[in-house]
Homo-oligomer: 400 residues x 2
Amino acid sequence: MVKINENFLKMQKNYLFIEIAKRVTAFSQAHPEADIIRMGIGDVTMPIAPVAVEAMKKAADELGVKETFRGYEDSGAGYDFLREAVAGYYQSFGADVKADEVRINDGAKSDCGNIVDIFGDGNTILITDPAYPVYVDTNLMSGRKVIYADSNEQNGFAAMPDESVDADIIYLCSPNNPTGSVYTKDQLKAWVDYAVKRGSVIIFDAAYEAFVSEEDLPRSIFQIEGARKCAIEMCSLSKTAGFTGVRCGYTVIPSELTVKASDGSEVSLAQLWNRREGSKFNGVSYPVQRAAEAIFTPEGQEQIRVNIDYYRENAKIISSTLDEMGIYYTGGKNSPYIWLKCPGGMGSWEFFDKLLSEANVVGTPGAGFGKNGEGFFRLTAFGDRERTKEAMERFKALKF
Amino acid sequence: MVKINENFLKMQKNYLFIEIAKRVTAFSQAHPEADIIRMGIGDVTMPIAPVAVEAMKKAADELGVKETFRGYEDSGAGYDFLREAVAGYYQSFGADVKADEVRINDGAKSDCGNIVDIFGDGNTILITDPAYPVYVDTNLMSGRKVIYADSNEQNGFAAMPDESVDADIIYLCSPNNPTGSVYTKDQLKAWVDYAVKRGSVIIFDAAYEAFVSEEDLPRSIFQIEGARKCAIEMCSLSKTAGFTGVRCGYTVIPSELTVKASDGSEVSLAQLWNRREGSKFNGVSYPVQRAAEAIFTPEGQEQIRVNIDYYRENAKIISSTLDEMGIYYTGGKNSPYIWLKCPGGMGSWEFFDKLLSEANVVGTPGAGFGKNGEGFFRLTAFGDRERTKEAMERFKALKF
């Protein structure tokens, strides 16, 4: 008789954002007249760049003609034109990444989850808390031991390594989802040193790098010395270029990143990952890869800059409101997320329900991101300008 | 220190088709003048249908305008418009599938591999041999016990259940890759009965269903009574509609398919799979889903029929050549694959090298699909008409 993976039974029944969607649907069915403003799931609202639309349409036309039709990619790792564009982008801000170290994927979430396949079950996983639920969920699904590094008010929601803790795989996200905090180069160097010393691997989620505006802050872990010996980076065009519905991201595994196997051989993690992907993935849609390529052209970069600036201005509107109300928060400056302390000492879900029912505004309960998120709440700057202003007006009118 | 998943070290270093690509590249570099005909990897050559091109372009335009922009799908399981189209397609040939039992994916390969996540490590996996390498590879990666059911000349390369063998998860593929054999309804019923009796699950790969031309042969396992209690089906538009580079498929898990967990609770496999996908997948590109929807319209079905008939004619050309040469083969009639016995008692890779070096034709060595594939060879009907004819002329001219 077939046996299920019983690790699933130990997990929360629903993925966080599916739970939120359910509650919002229930409220909206009970109150069809309510004008709901959604600042919950971190989804963008601005259209994709004109260069990306044109590139995708041109590629669709190519697929419709025998002479220019393309089927499977040979490797499934992404076309050279895109891998080279991604490497060039990294090099433009001083991160040492080569085209053949880049694998194109359908978004950072898939690889953040699937990467666990190449690691043994006996690893101890260190995850900063609060964190994007995918890191925890995917490791619990495979029955791994997960420990946490506390991000909290004391450290400005930017957890730092503790030399007394032993971890084999470390998940970091900067600019952070959900807290909006950004590691400095020195802070990230401390994590790299910690990993190199222990022979650990850092899984670095850089999905929000495009929101870093201060020049001194790192946008990639590969701007840090030593990272090529210990880090894997995932990034995505979802937030950078509004590709949440287009689906394209990339994973970088440096060629130097090797691990000693039990037989003494040095195993390349990039090769293991290629083997995994060769058997479980067939590459990203060709028109999507062409759209992504267009984003990395000077014209594409110019076009996405307009949207990113728009979201940054929304973030300012939210953070100014919180300043005005005297509410503690992190993020909002080099990040599209604002992480605030729930007013009146409320719990996360309590505040979620109050905000939804009294202001008809949807946010994300901090508790959904881990125990240190209890009493906190995430708002996103990805909304429409007028709706963001309206949401802040409704927020200010609430009584606590 | 981080530990790798050492199961990878027990596997062949390269995925079969990557190994073939390497050998072909090496030959082609050594013989730049060689006019190579590729009948190896099962990739299509005809362009995608005009309705799919137009749908994709229209969707790209929608993403470029704020009012019609779409970001994340709520569920990531596919838009209702496509799930309903897929369910309608199943119903059109008498398979009982509902829209909410369909999950849209980026191709059958991903789900065939990733589905192992929801099952426990203690399962015994039964795979017909020869088989598509993904079934074996993904189970070896996760350290599972794999046993084989022999497909061979005696049973026309269509393995049948053996009541004395105990298996928890069974992979079946019909029309079969690589052998081109197709199960009859009675044969498939025997597998369903075997699975229901044991509480086993069948993973049914229907990627080649569109090539079934005989009305009596099943195109889906859900045409068989009892299958809704034991089967998961994967299908794809790759071969049906030339989507190998577009990337779209679907997985069906019936609502009745439950498994008793160790705590006695009945667990829905569809719910487990949704939980897995909710954490590790974010849905398929919106323009790709619109292109797929177009394929299921009457106009789309008409357009893809032209290509399928074209490939069927190629299959006839290949099988007539083999008839003429007196070579044993299976497939070619309800399948785009022709599975032949290597002439002159040659081994699979020996024949691969001879065909490549002397006829400059690339095929797939049967040994790459399992031990029963040794001495056999796969050719595909997905090529260009003139090139297929040319390849057959060159084949006939070889001396053994």
